[in-house]
């Protein structure tokens, strides 16, 4: 584009210069040519080089200043977090120490406590009570009929209708029934206690190899076991409540019958006195 302009200008200027027929025209053409060449044909001014240097320097300043500071800060924070995790929150040394402690306590207590719990407590001396005592404490739930038999052998059968009133027979049967219910509940509870101890041992064994991330599973399972344990305790308490309630109901039954007998006795005495 610049060359085309130059050629056109050159041809036009040369034409005017050649055809000028007076010195005054030569002067006018020269002035006009200089003016036109200055305004139209001359190349545009180059931009100052100082702007580029400043732009590069600005980019370098951003990299070395803001970005470098930001990266340094992020790195510092991440390194601090790493140190916090490894030295304070989950220090490997203390994790291993905790595992070792679990193992040590298993060795120290488990066998000892099991031996204490499994000591023979049997105390009966005569054959029939011995049989009942054994049956009561055997942790088995598949010999309830033998338990009832053994209980009957020790405490006797319900009186016949000839030997006792129906009220006495009912009360006696209810007392025996609730006693046997409690004994059966206790046999089941003993069995459940064995299973609970087994579960506790499993959880504790696993704790010897647990990681901080796997421990919540065991904790949650242990809590669920505690709920079960509470439920079993409640079943025992319910049996105890029935038994105690039957006990005072029995005493109260005597009180009621005492009142009835007293009335009957008074009436009888009055009739006797009237006859005399």
């Amino acid at each position: 584009m610049h060359y085309v302009t130059f050629v056109l200008f050159g041809l036009t200027f040369t034409w005017f210069m050649v055809t000028a027929n007076s010195s005054r025209r030569v002067l006018a053409v020269t002035v006009a040519g200089i003016l036109v060449s200055t305004m139209l044909v001359a190349p545009p001014l180059a931009e100052a080089q100082g702007g580029l240097v400043q732009a590069i320097q600005a980019v370098l300043n951003v990299i070395n200043g803001m970005l470098k500071n930001a990266l340094t800060a992020i790195n510092t924070a991440r390194a601090a977090m790493n140190a916090l995790y490894q030295n304070f929150v989950w220090p490997l040394q203390l994790i291993n120490q905790a595992r070792a402690q679990v193992t040590q306590m298993i060795n120290q207590y488990r066998a000892l406590m099991a031996s204490i719990l499994n000591m023979n407590l049997s105390s009966a001396t005569l054959p029939t009570p011995q049989s009942l005592e054994t049956m009561m404490r055997d942790h088995r739930v598949n010999n309830f009929s033998s338990l009832s038999q053994s209980f009957g052998n020790t405490y006797g059968a319900i009186p016949t209708s000839v030997d006792a009133s129906q009220a006495d027979r009912d009360m006696s049967d209810m007392d025996d029934a609730l006693t046997l219910d409690s004994l059966k509940t206790l046999k089941a509870s003993d069995n459940a206690t064995d299973l609970e101890l087994q579960a506790a041992n499993s959880i504790e064994n696993s704790a010897t190899q647990a990681a901080p991330g796997s421990a919540p599973f065991m904790t949650a399972s242990a809590v669920a076991s505690s709920i079960r344990s509470q439920a079993l305790t409640q079943k025992m308490l319910a049996a105890e409540l029935r038994q105690e309630a039957a006990h005072i109901a029995h005493q109260n039954g005597f009180r009621k019958r005492g009142a009835t007998f007293t009335t009957q006795f008074r009436t009888l005495m009055m009739n006797l006195l009237q006859h005399n």
Partner: protein
């Protein structure tokens, strides 16, 4: 060729004849003529740009790249630590397997609680025992009638003093309350066992981050279970308190009766 020679000759003649004009024409064309562009590799502008870009590249590599590499190193260290020490997949799977194994034990415990323990042999006591062992809170309504059928009613006003009737009624009430509470507690403990199994199953499919939530729920259930145990214990204590009060009342009644008897004997002796 001849034309060209003629043109040159004419031009030469014109230049010789018009020296001033030829000088001005040459000078103007010389000034206005476009000059060839300078090569970039020797241009100082491009050299500055190249140096600047090299500086930027160096800064990016050293400052940004170096900084990012340090952060990456720390992050890799954290990742490795968390994967190997804090949340190792194999140990988490082991824990889940343990929970699954415990579920078998818990199922055995639950089946133990379902074993029938009924032992009564006579109709009245059988009916009452069935009610007491029903584990069904809806059957609490029938407890009082079965109780009365077995243990009798409160003495009438002709059969006993008001004090004795009150005592008998209170004792019956405490006994029946406790029996009703026993039915409730049995029903509640069944539900607790059911909930504990559900919680245990949830743990098996939990993530390390969600297990503490289930644990919190289990803790809440444990607190609830403790409350039920306390409620049952409270009823047991009430029973024993009433039992003690009855023993005390017997002493009081005995003392009153003794006094009355003494008084009546004295009256009899005085009449004689």
């Amino acid at each position: 060729m001849k034309c060209f020679r003629d043109a040159l000759k004419t031009t030469k003649c014109w230049i010789v004849g018009h020296k001033l004009r030829a000088a001005v024409l040459g000078a103007v064309l010389l000034v206005v003529a476009p000059w060839p562009a300078k090569a970039q590799f020797v241009d100082p502008c491009c050299a500055i740009m190249a140096a600047g870009l090299a500086s930027i590249s160096s800064a990016l590599q050293n400052v940004i790249g170096g900084g990012l590499n340090q952060i990456l190193g720390v992050d890799q260290s954290i990742q490795q630590f968390e994967q190997n020490t804090v949340w190792p997949q194999n140990l988490i799977n082991q824990a889940r397997a343990l929970v699954g194994g415990l579920q078998g034990i818990f199922n055995q415990i639950q089946s133990l609680t379902q074993i029938r323990i009924n032992s009564a042999t006579l109709p009245n006591s059988q009916q009452f025992e069935a009610n007491l062992l029903s584990r069904n809170a809806n059957q609490i309504g029938q407890t009082s009638s079965s109780y009365t059928a077995l243990y009798g009613q409160i003495p009438t006003t002709t059969d006993a003093s008001q004090q004795v009737r009150d005592m008998v009624d209170m004792t019956d009430a405490a006994a029946q309350d406790a029996m009703k509470r026993a039915i409730e507690i049995d029903a509640l403990s069944d539900l607790e066992l059911q909930a504990a199994s559900q919680i245990n199953q949830s743990i098996q499919s939990a993530a390390p981050g969600s297990a503490p939530i289930i644990e919190a729920q289990a803790d809440a259930w444990l607190v609830r279970a403790n409350a039920y145990t306390q409620a049952a214990t409270a009823d047991l204590m009430r029973l024993r308190a009433i039992d003690l009060a009855n023993s005390s009342a017997d002493i009081k009644t005995g003392a009153t009766n003794t006094t009355n008897l003494r008084q009546q004997l004295m009256n009899l002796l005085q009449h004689n």
